[in-house]
């Protein structure tokens, strides 16, 4: 406890000293938020005062904790719990590779303790599963059913985990305004993470990159946000491409800007501007820009990038380090981000990929950690690191801005920096809880599963050894397990888990097309049906699909333009279920849907009625179509999935359990992800709240 208190005070003092180093004035500004100017000297004085106050109050805190019996109880079964989350690790592959001797560390862990398949959530999606991991409750009680939900005004798809309120502002004239406050971001995941309960008992927690923790909730500990943390532009990751070639959005989606070669005395130069967040002074959303230039070197194999005062020689197809990008406005306004560059081609045409511009962890424009200085502290410790929720640019790969190798390179760059962060944090967590979640395992399986599945319709790059990518990834995760095991004491508890498994995604099913065919959904006359449910004739629609999870009934009193009365709900659900189970793929008469779950039976809690009414348990190989996720109605119900994104886990949860390894014996059969929260509380001898649905496993 003293160590933690002392290190916190030292961290504050060090930050104050760093703040005193010469630097330009920093404005803590959110994209579109108000602005506040904080001088370095003021920060230093304030931080020193805080550090002195912390030290002065420490004896009082110690006495208070002793009096209120806070801290790890004597009855606790351990003084430290370490949880290593490897998103999407598939048990059948783990078992296979362990048998082949490729995962010796997990094998050792199994021998020392236990290995079980870990039951996942309905549906088997990361935001749902990790929310249940955090809270120990089913989705009906934590309110996350999918990545996507629908808004209650127009049924537009929205991110399910956060809601952002625009700042109040005063219009000055024309398109200009003065923002009066900050943009407010709210976490929509309800209930509470188990580390908050630990914190109320004085048990410290370090929580790194657990999905659905943006914005982070304060607790007795440190939290770094993860999945659904936006980029600086407020999206889930907008890459940009600058090219001297012809811009063909049919083959290269995303944001593509044509740039021109300029012949200068120093050589061929191209110039462009990075696109930043909206200018907070304007009402028209015009973005801030940061100019850059690229000078091609005489050998034609490299180019010198100039961005602000920064320079780097870019080699073809090699990712740059993180560059700091400053978007300036007004006299002193500044919003800071970071990005990486990858010069894909130099000749005959230049093709420059720029990663999504991440929030700068050293100067975060949005709340990405709790306490707020934690992200800055980590950046000072290890340098810049990615803060975007979905770091690995699968969209960039799907849209051919990146090829398979570059996607892999980017994924492992992210993985390596996260590994350094987690191991350093683990070393600092001498007691209490330390949790770290790694996403590379999930993203790589999404993008490379087609190399494991010879029947997959998606094209493959032959001869590049990509059939080894997934086995090698599993071996790499096993080495990480070994590294963590070496740092774990025998009295500690180590859990290695995944939130769900994986399978192939070969065939797409457009649910809205099926609903239209069966007469449950009607598109307005003359409309195409391809715009986010906007073409739906709500007066003649009884059911619709949006998101990955399932089907909503157009219920009166719940949906904005409901047509289905409460008395009709049960009969309609039965009718839809029977028809969905009878559906057959015209290609081979295979059944795409194994189970149809009625969420009124599957969920309980305050938010259960917000869930889709029916969640589909697809057979492995099938998933909702790309267009169906955003509510579009296609002409065909079934189609091949020909994208690089070829593996998935949104199938019947029974088909894709996760993994749970432990260095302690687990006697209970069939553990589920709901059991983790009560298990950890029980390990620390903290009473498990009655509302938690899982069981302690140890």
């Amino acid at each position: 406890m003293f160590y933690r208190f002392f290190s916190t005070s030292c961290a504050l003092f060090v930050l104050a000293c760093i703040a005193l180093l010469p630097d330009s004035a920093t404005a803590y500004v959110g994209p579109g938020a108000g602005f506040a100017f904080v001088g370095s000297t003021f920060v230093f004085i304030l931080t020193v005062l805080l550090a002195i106050a912390s030290l002065a109050l420490w004896p009082i805190q110690l006495l208070w904790r002793a009096a209120s019996r806070k801290g790890i109880p004597k009855a606790a079964k351990t003084r430290r719990v370490v949880i290593l989350g490897l998103d999407g690790l598939e048990p059948s592959l783990v078992e296979c590779y362990m048998a082949e001797g490729k995962m010796p560390n997990l094998q050792k862990l199994q021998r020392a303790g236990s290995f079980h398949r870990l039951g996942t959530t309905l549906p088997a999606l990361s935001p749902v599963a990790w929310s249940s991991f955090q809270t120990g409750v089913n989705p009906g009680a934590h309110n996350i059913f999918d990545f996507i939900t629908r808004d209650k005004r127009y049924c537009l798809p929205l991110l399910s985990s956060t809601e952002t309120d625009p700042p109040r502002s005063v219009k000055i004239f024309g398109k200009f305004r003065i923002p009066l406050g900050r943009r407010k971001v709210r976490l929509l995941r309800k209930s509470q993470p188990f580390w908050k309960i630990l914190g109320r008992r004085g048990i410290f927690a370090n929580i790194l990159r657990v999905p659905i923790s943006y914005p982070p909730e304060p607790c007795f500990g440190n939290v770094l946000s993860a999945m659904c943390t936006p980029d600086l532009r407020g999206s889930q990751g907008t890459f940009t491409v600058y090219t001297t070639g012809t811009v063909d959005s049919a083959t290269t989606g995303g944001e593509v800007y044509q740039v021109e070669r300029q012949e200068r005395p120093e050589g061929v130069v191209v110039a462009g501007s990075l696109i930043g967040p909206p200018d907070p002074r304007r009402t028209d959303g015009k973005p801030l820009l940061a100019p850059f230039s690229l000078r091609i070197m005489p050998d034609g194999e490299e180019a010198l990038l100039h961005l602000g005062k920064d320079r780097e020689l870019l080699k073809r197809n090699v990712f740059s380090r993180w560059f700091k990008v400053e978007f300036r406005y007004g006299m002193r306004g500044r919003i800071s981000g970071i990005c990486r560059f990858c010069l894909r081609e130099i000749s005959p045409e230049i093709f420059l990929y720029v990663s999504p511009i991440n929030i700068n962890p050293a100067e975060p424009a949005l709340p990405i950690s709790s306490p707020r200085y934690f992200s800055t502290y980590l950046a000072k410790q290890q340098g810049f690191y990615g803060t975007l929720g979905l770091m690995e640019d699968t969209w960039g790969r799907n849209e051919h801005a990146l090829d398979d190798q570059r996607f892999l390179d980017q994924t492992y760059l992210t993985h390596d920096e996260r590994e350094r962060m987690f191991l350093a944090t683990l070393d600092r967590t001498r007691e209490g809880l330390c949790v770290g979640v790694f996403d590379a395992s999930d993203r790589i399986q999404h993008m490379f599963w087609r190399y494991l599945d010879p029947q997959h319709p998606s094209p493959r790059e032959e001869g590049n050894g990509f059939e080894n990518v997934i086995p090698e990834m599993y071996e790499r995760m096993d080495r990480l397990v070994g590294t963590v095991q070496a740092r774990v004491r025998s009295a500690d508890v180590l859990l290695v888990m995944s939130d769900h498994g994986f399978t192939s995604f070969r065939r797409c099913v457009n649910l809205n097309a099926w609903l239209q065919r069966e007469g449950y959904l009607t598109v307005r006359d003359g409309a195409s049906g391809d715009e986010y449910l906007q073409d739906v004739d709500w007066g003649r629609t009884r059911a619709f699909a949006v998101g990955l999870a399932g089907i909503y009934l157009n219920r009166i009193g719940r949906e904005p333009f409901g047509t289905v009365a409460d008395t009709e709900v049960e009969a309609l659900k039965r009718e839809l279920s029977e028809k969905l189970l009878a559906l057959r793929d015209p290609v081979d008469s295979a059944r795409p849907i194994r189970t149809v779950y009625d969420t009124a039976q599957s969920y309980r809690g305050l938010y259960a009625e917000e869930a889709p009414d029916l969640i589909l348990g697809f057979e492995p190989g099938y998933r909702v179509s790309w267009e169906s996720v955003k509510g579009a109605v296609e002409s065909e119900i079934f189609s091949d999935n020909i994208k690089a994104w070829s593996g998935d886990h949104h199938v019947d949860p029974e088909a894709v359990p996760g993994i749970l390894f432990s260095n302690r014996r687990i006697e209970r059969e069939h553990p589920t992800i709901l059991d983790i929260a009560p298990s950890v509380l029980d390990l620390f001898a903290v009473p498990v709240p009655a509302y938690m649905e899982g069981r302690a496993l140890f």
């Binding site: 127009y154 798809p157 929205l158 991110l159 309800k190 999206s235 979905l390 799907n398 009193g557 509302y691």
Partner: protein, 76 residues
């Protein structure tokens, strides 16, 4: 900056606390907010039906949604 405050009768507050604990809310405020949200949604939905409120979002609303979802790998 400033939030509205509502006073509850002590007896009601006790019941609310008990209900909040039973359903696993992180706070009494969450339980109250959720209950009100549900009721408001129902009332406004009935009002939409009665008044024939606009049934389509504007193009700029749709574009904002599209921009926010960019990069989410599960959809195109």
């Amino acid at each position: 900056m400033f939030r509205s405050k509502i006073k509850l009768r002590p007896a009601l507050l006790e019941k609310v606390k008990l209900a909040a604990e039973r359903v696993g809310c992180s706070s009494v405020a969450e339980f109250i907010e959720r209950t009100l949200e549900r009721e408001v949604t129902r009332v406004l939905a009935e009002n939409n039906a009665a008044t024939g409120a606009p049934r389509s979002a504007s193009q700029s609303d749709v574009q904002k949604i599209a921009d926010k979802l960019k990069g989410l790998g599960y959809l195109e």
